[in-house]
Structures are given as structure tokens and as C-alpha cells.
């Protein structure tokens, strides 16, 4: 049950909202320094090729500084440092002569102006040896030689690559053969999800400035300043105290900044060689060749007893990861975890294979593997419900992993118990609000427009914390300080992607000290002034990041209490904080002695004047659980049987985020997550021209279609229900929300389409042509 708070649970304007709305906020692409050069990246026009020779003489005549694989240290690494070393595959180099996709980079130039840099890039001469390109998993798996990678490293152990298989992973619980024997009904289906492009507003970009002390300062587009620093230090052999990575607002990430972007390393290489500040802002086209969501293709077999109890499941997945590892091993792990943690199943087997192809390297995007897996698992639940003639909602309530059970959404090494669970409440309220049991169904409808109501449920983990160390790192360092006027500063390397993570930290600290939100500030942060923070990813911002701020705030409060006790001549344990709205002051009073009272400001100032010190504390905090933030969507759609277009009429979102810190932002997350999830279901994909290896959209937005505001329901028809839950391990009862807001959306839209026209799609996106095709043939796709 929810608790009452002074500040939490009420709508607040964002701290940086004014700056963003007025154009004052600085992003990497806004930075200019004296003497700065502009860089351009040299890229392969071929999907698979080797460079025989490279000639920079014409570019150098234009005054350009040039770097290429010829200057690069040969060290191999992984751009993503979230996993521990023993679970990290390394197949990247700073530059390579082996080009593995169209748009792969082999060097870069920097010049006085952007125009000159562009000109210099165009006159670099390259002699190519074209290699056979593998544009599909089948082609890649059949290859014996000219592999995309010959060898990679797992930590420091060399691994020889065969058939372009990047890695495999098997996760087994129980005995599936025995399990399937107990099944009365078995459903086996192949599912496929698209290569969705992040399309963050700001393309990945970077500015690097060499400093007088021989170090560098870096302003990258990143979700993880510390991992960026560690990677730069390692690749360029720089001591970490000479690499200062600044937290700067990014123009959106959606997962594309969990790993250090290649542009960051390339800009660093140019700055170190030229000894001048260098800036690279990538074009949208370059950005589209830089990163993309993991697609998935898997066969899911699930068996159930007559009464609806799931008894066994088998998932065999093949993942086309493109030309590099941005940690496919972790991706395979979470696929198994998200699946296993949706529904209870004693016997399960997951077999995942990650395959290299000559395509854009795949990485995390909002939801990581959860939208992909949830799409198939929820589709399968609907099919089972139909076969078993059990209400789909009841089937889920019977089998879902909930309160008191152990779950491992982030893969088999991240296990923790569930302490809060709003699933049943949200399913019931959602069904009621949308009229789920009053839907007409496809059989009763004729005419051009058919309506359908569908739903799906899912979750995301709130971070990757666990009681024991696993494959993934997870902690955040925070410093909380009470200033001499009673205001408070929070210093942490935690990132805010725009979802309000840092605001949440400030609000939770404000609640702890009972001071108004605007008296808590977030200090500018860089890697030199802060302790390690793993990354803002995995929906860990509020639960782990702001959770760390909360734990540290309590310690800082202890210091303040010590000073206040001395000041009031009382014992610390007897002191009470209370916010007096009239005076705008936070009072510290001794219980039972109302005359003994003061304010935070007075204590802090007194402590300074008496040389007692500053109330300040700093600590690294790891959360020892990562509770599931449950979400479900009920969706009503209208299918136009003359064009195959799907219109989303109504959405009822259910979110179990524990205590809701800032409802207006949390609702915004649900609107945004649903929007991109619906896009994944209906439109978004990057496909390839197999002959040229180019993206068919040619890196242009005109042919990378996303849903427009027109395609979203009226805000009045988008209802949000928050579950009445309190997460006991979370900061003031809070869990995460960001990725949970996405995960069930594609499955829910698909389910609604099925209800409207009686056809179940198992491959995304469901384009108008697929719907017309299916309507013509009258069977499932």
C-alpha cells in the first residue's frame, strides 16, 4: 500500500525544463572551443572488404590531420563495459583495415572547418579488396572462410570463430522432455522482431579537448561517463586521472549510449594526434549505420496442462547481431531471463545463438530483449488460452511470476525475490476500464473498419542489482551535502536521459530532509569529481541511482543530526524534521520539547562557524535486488480492411512502479514507451539491399517511418493506472518504469489486431501490406 509523502507523488516541473524549452541547454553538438578542429569519419562503401592501401596525401595538402588503422593500437576491446571482464567478448579495435559493414570506419580526418574536413575526407584514396558479404544469418552460418571475424577475445582468452557464430548460450532448468510429456496442449510458433533504429534526436557526437597537463576532457553522448573514461584510458594507454569525461545532457539515448560510441574514440584519436580540441557531430545517415536494436528470431514451444498450468517451455533463438559484439552474450542471457520471469515454468530450456552478419552492430534499445521476448510469450499465452478455452487474463494470473517468487529478468546470474506485485490489480482494472469483456470479436464484424481490443503484460527489472555478484556490474556513487543556508547539493555521475532520473534523486532527497524540491540541486558532474556509476540503463535510474542518493542522504542526515543535537543540547535520535509551508523553512525540533527548535539552515551555518564541519557524505551503494516493474497495456485498434492501416483508438496503461515519484513524468514515460512499442509493432524496421549492403532507407528518415502524432490516440483516450504498491527495498517504495513502459506494447497492439480481424501475426512489424495479404489469404501470419 502506498504511503503519504510531503513531496513525492505530486506533479513537479522538471529542473532543466526551462533551459530545454528555451534552448539554453548545452548538448555536445553545441560546444565550441578556441582552436577547435572539426572531424569527419572515413567509412567503407562496401559491406565486407579489406583495405590494401590508404593514401592521405591529398587530404594532408588541405591541412587535415589524419588517423587510420595505421596509427591505431591493435588492442581489442568491447565498447560496452557493463558486464564483468570474464563475460565480455572483445572484437572491436580503434580502427581496422577489415571493413565489416557499409559505413564501417577505418580512419578519420580533422580540419579547420567542417567544409574543409568534408573535402579532405573525400580526397582520401583507398585501394580495396572486396570480400564476400553475408547479409543474412543463413549466408553467414554457411560461410567457411572470409569470416567477419576470425578471432575474438573472451576477457583475455582467444576464441576462434567458426561459421560466423559470435557466441551461444544455453540456460536449462528442470527437464523439458519430462515436462512436455505432462502437457495436454503444446503450442509451437516462430516469432520474429525487427531491427528498430533508436532514432534519438541527437546523433552520437563528441568533443575532446587536450589539456595542458597532458590529459584530455571529453564531452560525449553517453549514458555512462565512467565506463567511457575507463575505455578511453585503456585504448589510448592514458592514466584515468588524465581522462576527464563530463556529464553533459544528451539529446536522447534509448540505449544507444550504454556502450561508448565509436565516435568518442575516433574524436579522441584525432584530438591526441592534432593536440587541439576536436569535434565530430555525426549525420543522421552515419548514426543509422552506427547502432540498431537487437532483432530476434526464435521458435517458442510451450506446453500446458488442461487446467492452464504451464509445464514446459523451449526457446531456440537466432540473433542477427550485425558485425560486432556490443555484448550479445548478455543479450542472450536476458532473453532467457525475461522469458523465464514472465511465467512460472519448472522445466525450461533456452538455446541462443548470436550470428555475425555484415550489418549495423546491434545493441540495447529501450527494453533490451524484453519487447522481443514478450511479443512471442504473450502471443503464445493468447494461443494457449484459445486452445484451452481459458480466459486469457485468468491464464496469466494463474501462471505469472509474482509476489514471493524468485525471478531473474536480467539473466541467470541476477536472481532476487519479488517483494511487491501489482499485476492482478492492474489486469483487472485495465480490463474493466477498456471494456475487455464487451468486445465484439472478429467473427461478428463486417464492413470496412473492424475494431479489436487486445492486451499484453510484461515487466522490466529495476536495474541489475542482486544479492550476489553476477555477470553485470551495478552500483552508483553519490555525495550529498548540506550547504550553509540549508540547501542541498547532490553530486553523482548518474545520468538522466530525459526521463527525470536526477529529478527523482533530488525529490527523494528533498523528502528525506523535508526540504522543498527547489532547495535540492544537482551538481555538474564529471569523472574526476565523482565515484563510479555503472550506467543509466536497465531501468535502474530511480531504483538504483536515486536509491543510492537516498541511502547517502540518510548518512548525511546523520551528520546533520549530530550537529543539530549539539546545537540544541539534545540527543540525535530525538530530533524530528518537519517542513513548515508558511515560512518555507525546514525545522529540526526535539520531541516533547517544542521550545527546543531550529532550522536546517541555522544548524549548517552554526556548524561552519564553530568549525564542526559540513554535513556531507559520499558512498557507493549497490542495490541487492532488482524488482520487476510490471506493466500492461489494453489497446483498442481499428483496422481498415481496404488499406491495411491500423489506427490506435484507445489505450489503458497499467504501471506498477511502486511509489510514483513524479506522476506527470511517469505518465510521460508510458505515453512514450507505448508510442515506440506501437511503432515496433506497426512500422519501424531497417532492412538491407543485399546486393549493395546498404540500408534500403539509405540512412534517410524519409524511408525510416515512425508513427506520427496523428497515429497516436488523443491524450484523453490514453488512460494511465498506477498500481497501489510499495516496494520495500526501493527508495521510499519506488521501482523503475522506463523500459517497462515499452515492453508489452508491441504484443498488446498485435493482440488487438488479432481480436479485430481474427489473424495472429508472429512477425513484426505488421505493415499494411501484411494485413492485406493476410486478409486475402485468410490465415495467420
Amino acid at each position: 500500500m502506498k504511503k503519504e509523502f510531503q513531496f513525492l507523488g505530486k506533479d513537479f516541473p522538471r529542473k532543466e525544463g526551462r533551459a530545454r524549452a528555451n534552448g539554453f541547454e548545452k548538448y555536445p553538438s553545441d560546444l565550441y572551443f578556441d582552436n577547435m578542429l572539426y572531424g569527419r569519419i572515413l567509412r567503407s562503401p562496401y559491406p565486407h572488404a579489406r583495405i590494401k592501401s590508404i593514401d592521405f596525401s591529398e587530404a594532408e595538402k588541405l591541412g587535415a590531420v589524419c588517423v587510420s588503422y595505421e596509427d591505431a593500437p591493435g588492442k581489442r576491446f568491447n565498447l560496452r563495459l557493463v558486464s564483468v571482464p570474464k563475460a565480455t567478448y572483445k572484437d572491436w579495435q580503434l580502427f581496422s583495415d577489415h571493413m565489416r559493414q557499409v559505413g564501417d570506419f577505418f580512419g578519420a580526418v580533422a580540419a579547420e572547418t567542417e567544409e574543409l574536413a568534408e573535402q579532405a575526407a573525400r580526397v582520401v584514396k583507398v585501394e580495396w579488396e572486396i570480400l564476400p558479404a553475408y547479409m543474412s544469418m543463413d549466408a553467414a552460418l554457411a560461410a567457411k572462410d572470409n569470416l567477419i571475424h576470425d578471432k575474438v577475445f573472451l576477457e583475455d582468452q582467444e576464441i576462434k570463430i567458426k561459421n560466423n557464430i559470435a557466441c551461444t548460450r544455453e540456460v536449462v532448468e528442470g527437464d523439458i522432455e519430462a515436462g512436455f510429456q505432462e502437457a495436454d496442449v503444446i503450442v509451437e510458433t516462430e516469432f520474429e522482431t525487427p531491427r528498430q533504429y533508436h532514432c534519438q534526436l541527437e546523433p552520437r557526437s563528441c568533443v575532446v579537448r587536450p589539456e595542458a597537463d597532458g590529459g584530455i576532457t571529453v564531452w560525449p553522448t553517453t549514458q555512462a561517463v565512467h565506463n567511457t573514461r575507463i575505455l578511453i584510458g585503456s585504448v589510448f594507454n592514458l592514466p584515468l586521472n588524465k581522462v576527464n569525461v563530463v556529464r553533459i545532457t544528451g539529446g536522447g539515448h534509448f540505449g544507444s549510449g550504454i556502450h561508448t560510441n565509436p565516435v568518442t574514440l575516433i574524436t579522441t584519436a584525432l584530438a591526441l594526434k592534432s593536440k587541439r580540441p576536436v569535434k565530430i557531430v555525426q549525420s543522421r545517415e552515419e548514426d543509422m549505420y552506427d547502432h540498431v536494436r537487437y532483432p530476434s528470431k526464435y521458435v517458442l514451444k510451450v506446453g500446458a496442462r488442461k487446467d492452464g498450468t504451464l509445464v514446459a517451455g523451449h526457446m531456440r533463438a537466432y540473433i542477427d547481431i550485425g558485425c560486432h559484439h556490443i555484448q550479445a552474450l548478455a543479450y542472450l542471457g536476458v532473453m532467457s531471463g525475461f522469458w523465464h520471469s514472465l511465467y512460472r515454468m519448472e522445466n525450461m530450456k533456452y538455446e541462443g545463438t548470436a550470428v555475425y552478419t555484415n550489418k549495423v552492430p546491434t545493441c540495447a534499445m529501450q527494453g533490451y530483449g524484453a519487447p522481443q521476448v514478450t511479443f512471442g510469450v504473450e502471443g503464445t499465452m493468447d494461443m494457449l488460452a484459445e486452445k484451452l478455452e481459458i480466459d486469457p487474463i485468468q491464464l496469466r494470473i494463474k501462471n505469472y511470476v509474482g509476489l514471493g517468487e524468485v525471478f531473474w529478468g536480467q539473466g541467470p546470474t541476477v536472481k532476487s525475490p519479488i517483494f511487491s506485485d501489482g499485476v492482478v490489480e492492474l489486469l483487472k482494472k485495465g480490463a474493466e476500464s477498456i471494456g475487455y469483456y464487451k468486445r465484439p470479436g472478429s467473427q461478428k464484424q463486417t464492413g470496412r473498419y473492424r475494431r479489436g481490443i487486445g492486451f499484453a503484460r510484461g515487466f522490466h527489472t529495476s536495474g541489475t542489482g542482486a544479492p550476489v555478484p553476477g555477470e553485470v556490474k551495478d552500483y552508483t556513487t553519490v555525495q550529498v551535502k548540506v550547504n550553509e543556508d540549508g540547501t542541498i547539493d547532490i553530486l553523482t555521475a548518474l545520468m538522466d536521459h530525459g526521463g527525470g532520473t536526477l529529478d527523482a534523486a533530488a525529490k527523494i532527497v528533498a523528502e528525506e530532509f523535508q526540504v522543498p524540491f527547489d532547495k535540492v540541486g544537482i551538481s555538474p558532474a564529471d569523472t574526476r569529481s565523482t565515484g563510479y556509476d555503472v550506467c543509466t540503463h536497465a531501468t535502474r535510474g530511480v531504483y538504483c541511482g536515486a536509491g543510492a542518493a537516498h541511502e547517502v542522504a540518510k548518512k548525511t542526515k546523520d551528520v546533520l543530526l549530530e550537529y543539530a543535537a549539539r546545537y540544541l543540547d539534545a540527543y540525535p535520535d530525538s530530533l524530528i524534521f518537519s517542513y513548515d509551508e508558511k515560512s518555507g523553512q525546514t525545522r529540526i525540533s526535539v520531541w516533547g520539547n517544542p521550545e527546543k527548535t531550529t532550522t536546517i539552515a541555522a544548524v549548517a551555518e552554526h556548524a561552519m562557524n564553530k568549525d564542526w564541519g559540513t554535513a556531507i557524505y559520499s558512498k557507493s551503494i549497490r542495490k541487492v535486488a532488482c524488482p520487476p516493474a510490471y506493466t500492461n497495456y489494453f489497446v483498442e485498434v481499428e483496422v481498415d480492411t481496404e488499406t491495411g492501416h491500423v489506427k490506435i483508438l484507445r489505450v489503458v496503461a497499467g504501471s506498477d512502479a511502486g511509489t510514483v515519484i513524479n506522476p506527470i513524468l511517469a505518465k510521460g514515460q508510458l505515453h512514450g514507451g507505448f508510442y515506440r512499442g506501437a511503432g515496433m509493432a506497426l512500422l519501424e524496421n531497417t532492412s538491407y539491399d543485399d546486393k549493395t549492403g546498404c540500408l534500403t532507407n539509405k540512412g534517410s528518415m524519409i524511408d525510416y517511418k515512425m508513427l506520427g502524432i496523428d497515429e497516436m490516440p488523443d491524450p484523453d483516450d490514453f488512460e494511465v493506472i498506477f498500481a497501489d504498491t510499495y516496494e520495500p527495498t526501493g527508495p521510499m517504495g519506488a521501482k523503475g518504469i522506463g523500459e517497462a513502459a515499452f515492453n508489452p506494447a508491441p504484443a498488446a497492439v498485435t493482440s488487438a489486431i488479432c481480436d479485430a480481424i481474427g489473424i495472429r501475426f508472429t512477425k513484426l512489424p505488421i505493415l499494411p501490406e501484411d494485413i492485406m495479404d493476410a486478409l486475402g489469404e485468410g490465415h495467420d501470419k
Binding site: 488499406t643 524519409i702 506520427g708 497515429e711 499494411p768 495479404d773
Partner: protein, 286 residues
């Protein structure tokens, strides 16, 4: 290397002189919404960019009894704001509200949309059913070309290398019903997958004249002559037009599969779009 020169002439005759000298190398810069993307994609690498955006001569609207003529460099927004378009060609106004997005409409010109020769240009099907003509001028002469004879292939038109499209003339069909429907992958800023326009003249519920035109189903925007004839031959009963007559459409179209849709899909929805445009043009419930 990209290598461009730039000319901003103060009269149409200067433009035509430059076209005569430069021929294919003289690139007309009107709204630039196509040309700049061609330059960015590397399809156009050099030449003289001839900026016609400031020529008032090409921004005139002539409103006569039977016809309205538009200067080629009028922007889509200017057309939308024109009272002549709003009052006398309201169906054209309706079509133009679906053109790309407001930013593009502020830049893109009517002449550019036609001269670009795209099979999916947003203005063409409706202009085809209205029997529009275009005027092409060179330094030596001027000629009027029926729009239905203007397109040759994707990006190819009958405009000669020294010619400039200066005017678009649209007959006013007071008693016709007209409707164009555009189908993209979404509503805003979407290239047409397929589009269809229909004009019908009825006489006591009997069909006197019909025009059907489509975009995105052939190498050029097309008139669907087979389908038009089939409908006329059948002593057309509009109520039944959903039937077999529209099957003739399949002989008119020859779509391809591309990044925006499959050929099969285009074949299927073409019929649906024409049927709907026809019913709407005939004043029936859609």
C-alpha cells in the same frame, strides 16, 4: 567532388538563356526540396544552380472563366492560401492539405513537383484528372503540353534540356465531382505508396465523362484508360462500380515492390482507392 555555381536571375528570360547555355547542367532551384536531397545523396554532383524563387513572373495566378493558370514557382502553401484555389478548385485545395508537411509545403513549388517527374508526386493524379496542361518555355519558343503526355519514366519528362516549366493550367470543371486519395505509411510527411484521383461528370445519374489517374503504380503517374473505358462502356451504374469494371484497372497499372510497399499490395489497394475516390467524386457515401 561537388562543384556548383549559383545564379539568381532577375527575369525568366535570363533563366532561359542560362538553360540554353548550360542545358542539363543548368539545375533549376525552386523549393529545393528534391534537388537538395539529390545533392546530398550524390545523384547531382555539379552544375549551375539557377534560383527561380524570386521571380514574380512565375508566381502569378490567372483566373479566367474556363481555366485557372498557376505560375510554376508558386509554393504549395501559396496555393493553399489562394482564394481562387479555395473557391474554384476546392478539391485541389483538399488534396494539397495532404502534401508532405507544413515545412515542405512552405518550400516546395507546384512546378517542381511536376518537373521532378516522380511517379509518386502528390499533385499529379488530381491534375491529370482535371486535364491540366503545362507550358514549357525555352529562349526560342513556348509550347503547351497536356500533362498526360508529360511523363516518360521515373524522373524523366518531355521537357527539353533548354526548357523551363513556367505555367500550369487547370481547366475548371464546374459540374464535375473530383476526389483524390493519398495513401502513405502514415499520415504526415509520408511518401505516397499509392494515390488515386477520379473525376466524374454525371447526367441524371448517367456517367458522361470519367477520368482516373494514379500515382505509385507505374514508372510514371498514369491515367487508367482501360478502367475509364470499361466504366464508360458499361453504361455505368455507379452503385455497382465496386464490381468487375474496376478489374480493368489491373491492365493499367504495373507496380513494383520497393521499400514502401510490395507490388501485390499496390495492386490490391489501387482498386480500393479508386473505388472510394469514385464514390466520393460521385457524391455517394464512402
Amino acid at each position: 567532388m561537388r562543384n556548383f555555381r549559383f545564379l539568381q536571375p532577375d527575369s525568366v528570360s535570363t533563366v532561359l538563356k542560362a538553360k540554353e547555355e548550360e542545358r542539363e547542367n543548368g539545375r533549376i532551384l525552386a523549393g529545393g526540396t528534391n534537388l537538395l536531397s539529390y545533392i546530398k545523396m550524390g545523384r547531382v554532383k555539379e552544375g549551375l544552380l539557377i534560383d527561380i524563387t524570386r521571380l514574380d513572373e512565375l508566381k502569378q495566378i490567372e483566373d479566367t472563366e474556363n481555366e485557372v493558370s498557376f505560375g510554376a514557382s508558386l509554393t504549395i502553401t501559396e496555393l493553399l492560401n489562394s482564394s481562387v484555389v479555395q473557391n474554384r478548385l476546392s478539391y485541389l485545395h483538399d488534396t494539397l492539405t495532404h502534401f508532405a508537411n507544413p515545412l515542405i509545403r512552405n518550400q516546395a513549388t507546384l512546378g517542381g513537383n511536376i518537373a521532378d517527374g516522380s511517379p509518386i508526386a502528390d499533385t499529379i493524379p488530381i491534375l491529370l484528372v482535371l486535364d491540366a496542361t503545362v507550358t514549357a518555355a525555352s529562349s526560342k519558343s513556348e509550347r503547351i503540353i497536356p500533362l498526360k503526355e508529360f511523363f516518360v519514366g521515373p524522373g524523366k519528362t518531355v521537357l527539353a534540356a533548354d526548357e523551363l516549366l513556367v505555367k500550369v493550367s487547370v481547366p475548371v470543371h464546374e459540374s464535375s465531382g473530383v476526389k483524390m486519395i493519398k495513401l502513405g505509411l502514415r499520415n504526415g510527411t509520408a511518401c505516397s505508396v499509392t494515390s488515386a484521383a477520379v473525376r466524374v461528370e454525371q447526367d441524371n445519374k448517367k456517367l458522361r465523362e470519367i477520368r482516373i489517374a494514379l500515382g505509385g503504380v507505374a514508372p510514371t503517374p498514369i491515367r487508367a484508360y482501360n478502367c475509364e473505358n470499361a466504366l464508360l462502356d458499361g453504361l455505368f451504374d455507379i452503385e455497382a462500380a465496386a464490381g468487375a469494371e474496376l478489374e480493368a484497372l489491373q491492365q493499367d497499372i504495373n507496380p513494383i515492390s520497393d521499400v514502401r510497399g510490395t507490388a501485390e499490395y499496390r495492386r490490391g489497394v489501387s482498386v480500393n482507392l479508386v473505388k472510394r475516390a469514385l464514390r466520393s467524386a460521385a457524391g455517394m457515401e464512402v
